[in-house]
């Protein structure tokens, strides 16, 4: 069943893309969008475009173009799909929202809290558009976050502000920044509540709903539209919880998805889980846009903390602790790690985390090979075999445990 909110979202996206008029700033998905909005920029997110290219299965057409232009086929396939589409002079935004091209930037801002690839990607477009590019380079892979780390990032945010002020020709109004940050925080808290409805059994939503519903917290963070949307979505999902509605009929096992979505396979994957009575109730990915620590009274410092403490920027111990908490809160039976060929940064199965989850948390894990956008790295048949076997393994264990507890 499609959620009503997903229908509402279509209009919201249409309005958003229609409103992207100069001055426009490009920003990474977990970059300091609030500063740009407060300065008066419309904010555009190339990663959202990358995901769109993947979900519409156009990525396969454009990736080779970036490859021909000198980008390896084994680096971020958001980057290669996006740059390839630019080289081809095409975008799905034309058919979807009537845009002639991707919105041209007046300023480009990125934060390497997620990866260094965004630096290369955004800098390429800086050259293409002859436009100022400002990078924020926070300390990476932190376990603890100290005051010096926060101070480091605050200084870099100040540079973003300085360049932004120059481009837009006016000073940043700090009261406006506080207001945007409040909107961002409230939106993010509502988004968390939306995701937390999946703690209920059966869960009214799955990861496959989540990756659609998350659009506003990424691209409209810091706006009232974002808040209104999640208020409505939360109302709808709460009603579904009251009705004991399960997004997957006869939910038998509950799964945590670690890693990037496989954008070109959302539908078939969703069907696979439905057919096997398994619900992906939580994910690192959807939870990455929860910024609890935004504090309008300390805008820059709290943003520095919130954007530096995201999962992808943490050390393995902290990642394990964060996952442990989620596995517990969402009553998870098994974790699926997506070993994403072209996104090393969002792949957490390579330094022994699955084994630690099995041994230290006691939850079964599975790793599947795939990619966010490049379907040449994904095998439908082999993944299906693994997923179905894993789900069956989880079901058998639950039945066994059920039998034992009945004795």
């Amino acid at each position: 069943m499609a959620l009503k909110s997903q229908v509402v979202l279509k209009d919201i996206l249409k309005t958003y893309f229609g409103s992207l008029k100069a001055p426009i700033a490009w920003c990474t998905s977990v970059g300091p969008a609030e500063i740009l909005r407060a300065l008066g920029f419309e904010v555009y997110f190339p990663e959202n475009h990358g995901a769109l290219l993947g979900a519409s299965r156009l990525a396969g057409k454009y990736i080779p173009k970036a490859h021909q232009a000198g980008f390896s086929g084994e680096i971020c396939s958001y980057l290669t799909a996006d740059i390839g589409a630019w080289i081809a002079g095409e975008t799905p935004l034309t058919a979807l929202y009537g845009l002639k091209s991707i919105p041209h930037p007046d300023l480009i801002v990125f934060n390497t809290n997620q990866c260094r690839e965004v630096d290369e990607w955004f800098s390429y477009f800086g050259r293409e558009f002859d436009c100022p590019v400002v990078g924020v380079y926070p300390p990476r892979y932190l376990e603890e976050i100290g005051q010096h780390d926060i101070d480091n990032v605050v200084v870099q945010f100040q540079k973003v502000i300085a360049v932004g002020e120059k481009v837009i020709g006016k000073k940043l109004d700090y009261e406006r920044l506080k207001e945007v940050l409040r909107l961002s925080r409230d939106g993010s808290r509502l988004w968390k509540k939306v995701l937390d409805t999946a703690q209920k059994k059966p869960s009214p939503l799955t990861f496959f709903d989540g990756v659609i519903l998350m659009a506003p917290i990424v691209i409209l963070r810091g706006t009232q539209t974002c808040i209104d949307f999640y208020e409505e979505a939360l109302e709808e999902l709460t009603a579904l919880v009251d009705q004991k509605f399960g997004a997957v009929p006869d939910e038998q096992v509950r799964i945590y998805w670690e890693g990037m979505p496989i954008w070109g396979r959302l539908r078939s994957m969703s069907e696979l889980f439905i057919n096997n009575q398994a619900t992906i109730v939580a994910s690192t990915y959807c939870n990455s846009w929860i910024f609890d620590d935004f504090d309008p009274e300390q805008p820059l410092a709290s943003m520095a903390r919130a954007y530096t403490q995201i999962f992808i920027n943490r050390g393995e111990e902290t990642k394990l602790a964060m996952m442990r908490q989620m596995l517990d809160e969402f009553n998870i039976d098994g974790v699926i790690f997506h070993d994403c060929k072209t996104c090393f940064n969002n792949t957490n199965s390579r330094f022994g985390l699955p084994k630690r989850i099995r041994e230290e948390v006691g939850v079964d894990t599975l790793s599947i090979d795939g990619d966010l956008n490049d379907l040449r790295f994904f095998s439908d048949g082999q993944s299906r075999t693994r997923l179905e076997t894993f789900i069956e393994q989880l079901k058998a264990k639950k039945q066994d445990a059920g039998r034992k507890s009945n004795v």
């Binding site: 069956e392 393994q393 058998a396």
Partner: protein, 261 residues
């Protein structure tokens, strides 16, 4: 006496639609194997499948059918299970202990920890490339001008420790070519191919402390792999009877058990 009277009552069919071969196993209500057959999966004579099914229908009163293997969806039986689940169930029909199952197939290698009831406890599959699988052996043997049927015998005559380094089939073929130019004896080449496969398997996460049962089509033609693996890994290693039918047997067993629930 009519046709139906001659049929054996209360039987269960497992069909393993693998990448190279399709295997059929029929078991009776006590689990006894009553029939087994193998045909090429993508045979040009497509009616072979139908012929087999006709024969099974003529001789047995099939209560339930379970299909498995990569082609499991192409047959609409009563149930479909992955080949890992069936391999685990199949080996468990023969040995009812907590064990590891290693299935060396045409295109992948599967390692399954299987509990005494046949449920999968955990599993591991290599699937990024075909190194060490049936397809790998076939390609490399061809380059080495070795008949598949004679490889095992040749390899047993060698003591060489030389093995192929590359995981990639294309690079491995180049290596073999180099060996041939150097005049490496055919016996050493045969053993070298096996050693590289065994080395590959031994590096996979095989659960410790469990007896290992080997199954799949490859082990049937290359039983020497077992001996080499036993030298490398300290566990007890056994080749199951009729290793290439194990997955189909597991499918038949699962359909039999599902009926009794």
């Amino acid at each position: 006496m009519s046709e139906t009277d001659k049929k054996i009552a209360d039987c269960y069919l497992g069909i393993d639609l693998g990448s190279s071969y399709t295997k059929f196993v029929v078991v009776g209500n006590d689990g006894t194997i009553l029939f087994k057959e193998v045909i090429a999966t993508l045979s040009r004579k497509r009616d072979q499948f139908e012929k087999n099914m006709d024969e099974i229908a003529r001789r047995f009163d099939i209560q339930k059918t379970c299909s498995t293997g990569y082609g499991r969806d192409s047959y609409s039986g009563d149930m479909q299970k992955t080949e890992l689940i069936c391999a685990s169930a199949g080996v468990s029909a023969i040995v009812d202990c907590h064990k590891s199952v290693i299935d060396i197939g045409g295109e992948d290698i599967k390692i399954i920890e299987s509990d005494p009831n046949g449920s999968v406890v955990q599993f591991y599959m290599n699937d990024k490339c075909s190194a060490g699988t049936g397809a790998f052996i076939t390609e490399i043997a061809e380059k080495a001008e070795l008949e598949i049927g004679e490889m095992d015998e040749f390899a047993r005559r060698s003591n060489s420790e030389r093995m192929i380094n590359s995981f990639c089939t294309v690079f491995a073929k180049t290596e073999i070519l180099g060996w041939k130019f150097k005049g490496v004896p055919i016996e050493d080449i045969a053993r070298g191919i096996y050693l590289s496969i065994v080395d590959r398997i031994a590096k996979m996460p095989i659960p410790g402390g469990l007896d290992i049962y080997l199954c799949g089509g490859v082990i049937r033609f290359h039983p020497y792999l077992r001996d080499l693996l036993a030298e490398k890994i300290a566990e007890k290693i056994t080749i199951v009877p009729d290793p290439q039918f194990i997955v189909a047997l597991g499918a038949a067993e699962l359909s039999r058990k599902s009926n009794s629930h």
